[in-house]
Subunit: 133 residues, 2 copies
DNA sequence: ATGTATATGAGAACAGATCTCACGAGGAGT
DNA sequence: ACTCCTCGTGAGATCTGTTCTCATATACAT
Protein backbone atom coordinates (compact mmCIF):
# COMPACT_ATOMS: atom_id res chain seq x y z
CA UNK A 1 0.00 0.00 0.00
CA UNK A 2 2.63 2.51 1.09
CA UNK A 3 5.19 3.35 -1.57
CA UNK A 4 8.67 2.31 -0.42
CA UNK A 5 12.10 3.81 -0.87
CA UNK A 6 14.59 5.83 1.09
CA UNK A 7 15.85 8.96 -0.54
CA UNK A 8 19.49 9.68 -1.55
CA UNK A 9 19.68 13.39 -2.14
CA UNK A 10 19.08 16.41 0.03
CA UNK A 11 16.57 18.62 -1.65
CA UNK A 12 14.89 21.80 -0.54
CA UNK A 13 11.56 19.94 -0.68
CA UNK A 14 12.76 17.21 1.63
CA UNK A 15 13.95 19.79 4.14
CA UNK A 16 10.66 21.62 3.90
CA UNK A 17 8.68 18.44 4.54
CA UNK A 18 10.92 17.46 7.43
CA UNK A 19 10.62 20.90 9.01
CA UNK A 20 6.88 21.07 8.56
CA UNK A 21 6.48 17.62 10.06
CA UNK A 22 8.71 18.53 12.98
CA UNK A 23 6.77 21.72 13.64
CA UNK A 24 3.48 19.81 13.86
CA UNK A 25 2.85 18.68 17.42
CA UNK A 26 0.74 15.65 16.61
CA UNK A 27 0.08 13.15 13.90
CA UNK A 28 -0.96 14.81 10.64
CA UNK A 29 -2.06 13.58 7.25
CA UNK A 30 -0.02 14.14 4.11
CA UNK A 31 -2.70 16.47 2.82
CA UNK A 32 -2.74 18.50 6.03
CA UNK A 33 0.99 18.89 5.78
CA UNK A 34 0.72 19.88 2.14
CA UNK A 35 -1.81 22.52 3.06
CA UNK A 36 0.42 23.85 5.84
CA UNK A 37 3.41 24.06 3.52
CA UNK A 38 1.32 25.93 1.00
CA UNK A 39 0.09 28.24 3.74
CA UNK A 40 3.62 29.21 4.73
CA UNK A 41 4.65 29.76 1.12
CA UNK A 42 6.49 26.50 0.52
CA UNK A 43 5.27 25.15 -2.79
CA UNK A 44 5.86 21.40 -2.63
CA UNK A 45 3.84 19.09 -4.83
CA UNK A 46 1.46 16.75 -3.01
CA UNK A 47 3.13 13.74 -4.62
CA UNK A 48 6.45 14.92 -3.24
CA UNK A 49 4.99 15.33 0.23
CA UNK A 50 3.86 11.71 0.04
CA UNK A 51 7.21 10.58 -1.35
CA UNK A 52 9.21 12.36 1.33
CA UNK A 53 6.96 11.32 4.18
CA UNK A 54 7.33 7.71 3.12
CA UNK A 55 11.07 8.18 2.73
CA UNK A 56 11.32 9.69 6.21
CA UNK A 57 9.38 6.73 7.54
CA UNK A 58 11.69 4.29 5.77
CA UNK A 59 14.65 6.09 7.24
CA UNK A 60 13.22 5.86 10.73
CA UNK A 61 12.68 9.58 11.14
CA UNK A 62 8.91 9.38 10.99
CA UNK A 63 6.18 7.13 12.31
CA UNK A 64 3.10 6.21 10.32
CA UNK A 65 -0.19 5.25 11.86
CA UNK A 66 -3.02 3.95 9.69
CA UNK A 67 -6.49 4.93 10.73
CA UNK A 68 -9.10 3.11 8.71
CA UNK A 69 -9.26 5.74 6.01
CA UNK A 70 -5.96 7.58 5.95
CA UNK A 71 -2.37 7.50 7.12
CA UNK A 72 -1.08 9.93 9.69
CA UNK A 73 2.56 10.90 10.09
CA UNK A 74 4.69 12.29 12.86
CA UNK A 75 8.35 12.81 13.61
CA UNK A 76 9.58 9.82 15.59
CA UNK A 77 10.69 10.75 19.09
CA UNK A 78 12.63 7.62 20.00
CA UNK A 79 13.85 6.05 16.76
CA UNK A 80 15.86 3.36 18.50
CA UNK A 81 13.22 1.98 20.76
CA UNK A 82 10.34 -0.25 19.77
CA UNK A 83 7.14 1.48 20.70
CA UNK A 84 3.52 2.13 19.92
CA UNK A 85 1.34 5.20 20.19
CA UNK A 86 -1.29 6.63 22.46
CA UNK A 87 -3.06 9.09 20.18
CA UNK A 88 -5.52 11.90 20.79
CA UNK A 89 -8.48 11.45 18.45
CA UNK A 90 -9.14 15.17 18.53
CA UNK A 91 -5.81 16.88 17.90
CA UNK A 92 -3.49 14.07 16.86
CA UNK A 93 -1.11 14.56 19.74
CA UNK A 94 0.57 11.34 20.75
CA UNK A 95 2.75 9.69 23.33
CA UNK A 96 5.12 6.87 22.42
CA UNK A 97 4.45 3.95 24.72
CA UNK A 98 5.96 0.54 25.33
CA UNK A 99 3.95 -2.29 26.86
CA UNK A 100 5.41 -3.87 29.98
CA UNK A 101 5.24 -7.26 28.31
CA UNK A 102 4.93 -7.96 24.64
CA UNK A 103 5.70 -11.61 25.18
CA UNK A 104 2.10 -12.71 25.59
CA UNK A 105 1.29 -12.68 21.92
CA UNK A 106 4.42 -14.61 21.00
CA UNK A 107 3.25 -17.27 23.46
CA UNK A 108 -0.33 -17.27 22.21
CA UNK A 109 0.87 -17.45 18.62
CA UNK A 110 3.08 -20.41 19.45
CA UNK A 111 0.15 -22.14 21.13
CA UNK A 112 -1.71 -21.99 17.83
CA UNK A 113 1.25 -22.91 15.65
CA UNK A 114 1.56 -19.40 14.27
CA UNK A 115 4.74 -17.57 13.43
CA UNK A 116 4.56 -13.85 14.23
CA UNK A 117 5.85 -11.43 11.61
CA UNK A 118 4.58 -8.13 12.94
CA UNK A 119 2.06 -6.60 15.27
CA UNK A 120 0.15 -3.38 15.52
CA UNK A 121 -0.99 -1.78 18.76
CA UNK A 122 -2.63 1.62 18.86
CA UNK A 123 -4.48 3.31 21.67
CA UNK A 124 -6.87 6.16 20.96
CA UNK A 125 -8.28 8.67 23.37
CA UNK A 126 -8.29 12.27 24.45
CA UNK A 127 -5.19 14.15 25.48
CA UNK A 128 -5.22 16.38 28.59
CA UNK A 129 -5.84 19.51 26.50
CA UNK A 130 -8.81 17.96 24.66
CA UNK A 131 -10.85 16.52 27.52
CA UNK A 132 -13.83 18.79 26.88
CA UNK A 133 -15.48 18.78 23.45
CA UNK B 1 -14.83 5.66 6.87
CA UNK B 2 -17.04 2.59 7.28
CA UNK B 3 -20.67 3.20 6.48
CA UNK B 4 -22.81 2.58 9.57
CA UNK B 5 -26.25 1.12 10.07
CA UNK B 6 -27.81 -2.10 11.22
CA UNK B 7 -30.34 -3.64 8.93
CA UNK B 8 -34.04 -4.19 9.72
CA UNK B 9 -35.26 -6.66 7.15
CA UNK B 10 -34.29 -10.19 6.24
CA UNK B 11 -33.52 -10.30 2.58
CA UNK B 12 -32.20 -13.06 0.36
CA UNK B 13 -29.09 -10.96 -0.23
CA UNK B 14 -28.36 -10.62 3.45
CA UNK B 15 -28.66 -14.38 3.90
CA UNK B 16 -26.38 -14.94 0.94
CA UNK B 17 -23.75 -12.61 2.32
CA UNK B 18 -23.98 -14.15 5.76
CA UNK B 19 -23.65 -17.65 4.36
CA UNK B 20 -20.74 -16.79 2.10
CA UNK B 21 -18.95 -15.08 4.96
CA UNK B 22 -19.55 -18.06 7.23
CA UNK B 23 -18.24 -20.48 4.63
CA UNK B 24 -14.97 -18.56 4.30
CA UNK B 25 -12.43 -19.84 6.80
CA UNK B 26 -10.41 -16.68 7.15
CA UNK B 27 -10.72 -12.93 6.82
CA UNK B 28 -11.81 -11.90 3.34
CA UNK B 29 -12.33 -8.61 1.57
CA UNK B 30 -15.73 -7.43 0.39
CA UNK B 31 -14.62 -7.81 -3.18
CA UNK B 32 -13.39 -11.37 -2.61
CA UNK B 33 -16.73 -12.23 -1.11
CA UNK B 34 -18.54 -10.61 -4.01
CA UNK B 35 -16.49 -12.70 -6.43
CA UNK B 36 -17.26 -15.87 -4.49
CA UNK B 37 -20.96 -15.13 -4.47
CA UNK B 38 -20.86 -14.54 -8.21
CA UNK B 39 -18.93 -17.77 -8.67
CA UNK B 40 -21.62 -19.80 -6.92
CA UNK B 41 -24.40 -18.09 -8.87
CA UNK B 42 -25.57 -15.63 -6.22
CA UNK B 43 -25.96 -12.30 -7.92
CA UNK B 44 -25.60 -9.72 -5.17
CA UNK B 45 -24.52 -6.19 -6.03
CA UNK B 46 -21.13 -5.15 -4.70
CA UNK B 47 -22.70 -2.20 -2.90
CA UNK B 48 -25.05 -4.60 -1.16
CA UNK B 49 -22.16 -6.83 -0.11
CA UNK B 50 -20.55 -3.78 1.48
CA UNK B 51 -23.83 -2.71 3.08
CA UNK B 52 -24.53 -6.11 4.55
CA UNK B 53 -21.00 -6.72 5.73
CA UNK B 54 -21.09 -3.42 7.55
CA UNK B 55 -24.52 -4.25 8.92
CA UNK B 56 -23.31 -7.64 10.15
CA UNK B 57 -20.38 -5.91 11.82
CA UNK B 58 -22.72 -3.40 13.47
CA UNK B 59 -24.86 -6.26 14.69
CA UNK B 60 -21.86 -8.03 16.19
CA UNK B 61 -21.97 -10.98 13.80
CA UNK B 62 -18.82 -9.99 11.94
CA UNK B 63 -15.40 -8.62 12.77
CA UNK B 64 -13.60 -6.08 10.64
CA UNK B 65 -9.87 -5.69 10.52
CA UNK B 66 -8.32 -2.79 8.66
CA UNK B 67 -5.08 -3.49 6.92
CA UNK B 68 -3.57 -0.29 5.60
CA UNK B 69 -5.23 -0.59 2.22
CA UNK B 70 -8.44 -2.54 2.67
CA UNK B 71 -10.89 -3.92 5.19
CA UNK B 72 -11.18 -7.63 5.82
CA UNK B 73 -14.26 -9.31 7.25
CA UNK B 74 -14.93 -12.54 9.09
CA UNK B 75 -17.75 -14.12 11.03
CA UNK B 76 -17.17 -13.39 14.72
CA UNK B 77 -16.56 -16.55 16.73
CA UNK B 78 -17.12 -15.17 20.23
CA UNK B 79 -19.43 -12.19 19.95
CA UNK B 80 -19.70 -11.70 23.68
CA UNK B 81 -16.06 -11.60 24.57
CA UNK B 82 -13.67 -8.74 23.96
CA UNK B 83 -10.87 -10.00 21.78
CA UNK B 84 -8.34 -9.25 19.08
CA UNK B 85 -6.99 -11.27 16.18
CA UNK B 86 -3.93 -13.27 15.28
CA UNK B 87 -4.09 -13.28 11.51
CA UNK B 88 -2.29 -15.27 8.83
CA UNK B 89 -0.88 -12.86 6.27
CA UNK B 90 -1.05 -15.54 3.61
CA UNK B 91 -4.51 -17.07 3.85
CA UNK B 92 -6.41 -14.78 6.18
CA UNK B 93 -7.08 -17.47 8.75
CA UNK B 94 -7.32 -16.05 12.23
CA UNK B 95 -7.55 -16.89 15.89
CA UNK B 96 -9.40 -14.71 18.33
CA UNK B 97 -7.10 -13.87 21.20
CA UNK B 98 -7.36 -12.02 24.49
CA UNK B 99 -4.33 -10.48 26.17
CA UNK B 100 -3.65 -11.59 29.74
CA UNK B 101 -3.62 -7.99 30.83
CA UNK B 102 -5.11 -5.05 28.98
CA UNK B 103 -4.73 -2.84 32.01
CA UNK B 104 -1.28 -1.57 31.15
CA UNK B 105 -2.48 0.92 28.60
CA UNK B 106 -5.16 2.30 30.85
CA UNK B 107 -2.41 2.96 33.40
CA UNK B 108 -0.03 4.49 30.87
CA UNK B 109 -2.80 6.65 29.48
CA UNK B 110 -3.66 7.88 32.96
CA UNK B 111 0.00 8.69 33.58
CA UNK B 112 -0.13 11.06 30.62
CA UNK B 113 -3.52 12.53 31.42
CA UNK B 114 -5.18 10.73 28.53
CA UNK B 115 -8.66 9.24 28.47
CA UNK B 116 -8.85 6.01 26.49
CA UNK B 117 -11.74 5.61 24.05
CA UNK B 118 -10.64 2.57 22.09
CA UNK B 119 -7.68 0.45 21.20
CA UNK B 120 -6.59 -1.70 18.34
CA UNK B 121 -4.35 -4.73 18.64
CA UNK B 122 -3.60 -6.99 15.71
CA UNK B 123 -0.96 -9.66 15.33
CA UNK B 124 0.10 -10.83 11.90
CA UNK B 125 1.99 -13.96 11.01
CA UNK B 126 1.79 -17.34 9.34
CA UNK B 127 -0.68 -20.01 10.31
CA UNK B 128 0.46 -23.64 10.70
CA UNK B 129 -0.69 -24.50 7.18
CA UNK B 130 1.17 -21.58 5.59
CA UNK B 131 4.63 -21.92 7.13
CA UNK B 132 6.35 -22.59 3.81
CA UNK B 133 5.99 -20.06 0.99
C1' DA C 1 -54.23 -8.01 -0.34
C1' DT C 2 -52.45 -3.17 0.47
C1' DG C 3 -49.49 0.27 1.75
C1' DT C 4 -45.30 2.05 3.15
C1' DA C 5 -40.85 1.99 4.85
C1' DT C 6 -36.64 -0.07 3.68
C1' DA C 7 -33.28 -2.77 0.67
C1' DT C 8 -31.35 -3.41 -3.84
C1' DG C 9 -28.88 -2.66 -8.35
C1' DA C 10 -26.21 -0.20 -11.56
C1' DG C 11 -23.35 3.05 -12.15
C1' DA C 12 -21.59 7.51 -10.77
C1' DA C 13 -18.92 9.72 -7.47
C1' DC C 14 -15.37 10.21 -3.94
C1' DA C 15 -10.98 10.16 -1.48
C1' DG C 16 -6.53 8.77 -0.48
C1' DA C 17 -2.55 7.36 -2.49
C1' DT C 18 0.43 6.19 -6.28
C1' DC C 19 2.12 6.41 -11.01
C1' DT C 20 3.78 8.62 -15.48
C1' DC C 21 6.98 11.12 -17.78
C1' DA C 22 9.13 15.39 -19.26
C1' DC C 23 11.94 18.52 -16.94
C1' DG C 24 15.03 20.35 -13.12
C1' DA C 25 18.57 19.97 -9.99
C1' DG C 26 22.06 17.41 -6.54
C1' DG C 27 26.58 16.29 -6.30
C1' DA C 28 30.65 13.25 -7.62
C1' DG C 29 34.35 13.62 -10.51
C1' DT C 30 37.41 16.47 -12.99
C1' DA D 1 33.56 26.14 -11.94
C1' DC D 2 31.94 22.78 -15.65
C1' DT D 3 30.11 18.32 -17.04
C1' DC D 4 27.37 14.51 -16.72
C1' DC D 5 24.59 11.24 -15.00
C1' DT D 6 21.43 9.98 -11.76
C1' DC D 7 17.77 10.88 -9.00
C1' DG D 8 13.93 14.02 -7.42
C1' DT D 9 10.09 16.99 -8.76
C1' DG D 10 5.64 18.82 -10.65
C1' DA D 11 1.30 18.41 -12.76
C1' DG D 12 -1.99 15.76 -13.70
C1' DA D 13 -3.65 11.21 -14.84
C1' DT D 14 -4.76 6.96 -12.82
C1' DC D 15 -5.84 3.37 -9.57
C1' DT D 16 -8.43 1.21 -5.80
C1' DG D 17 -11.46 0.62 -2.16
C1' DT D 18 -15.66 2.31 -0.60
C1' DT D 19 -19.78 5.03 -0.48
C1' DC D 20 -23.49 7.56 -2.66
C1' DT D 21 -27.65 8.39 -5.79
C1' DC D 22 -31.99 7.38 -7.05
C1' DA D 23 -35.31 4.66 -9.57
C1' DT D 24 -37.22 0.22 -8.78
C1' DA D 25 -38.25 -3.96 -6.12
C1' DT D 26 -39.40 -6.25 -1.92
C1' DA D 27 -40.27 -7.26 3.14
C1' DC D 28 -43.69 -7.33 6.28
C1' DA D 29 -47.02 -4.92 9.40
C1' DT D 30 -51.84 -4.07 9.05
MN1 LIG E 1 7.91 6.65 17.02
MN1 LIG F 1 -14.39 -11.61 16.70
ZN1 LIG G 1 -5.71 16.34 21.93
ZN1 LIG H 1 -2.48 -19.27 6.58
Amino acid sequence: MTQAGKTRRNTAQKDAVRRALASAEGFVSAQDLHRRLDGEGSRVALATVYRQLNALADEGEADIVSTGDEQLFRTCRQPDRHHHHLICENCGNAVEVTPDDEGWFARIAADHGYTVTRHSIEIYGRCPRCQNG
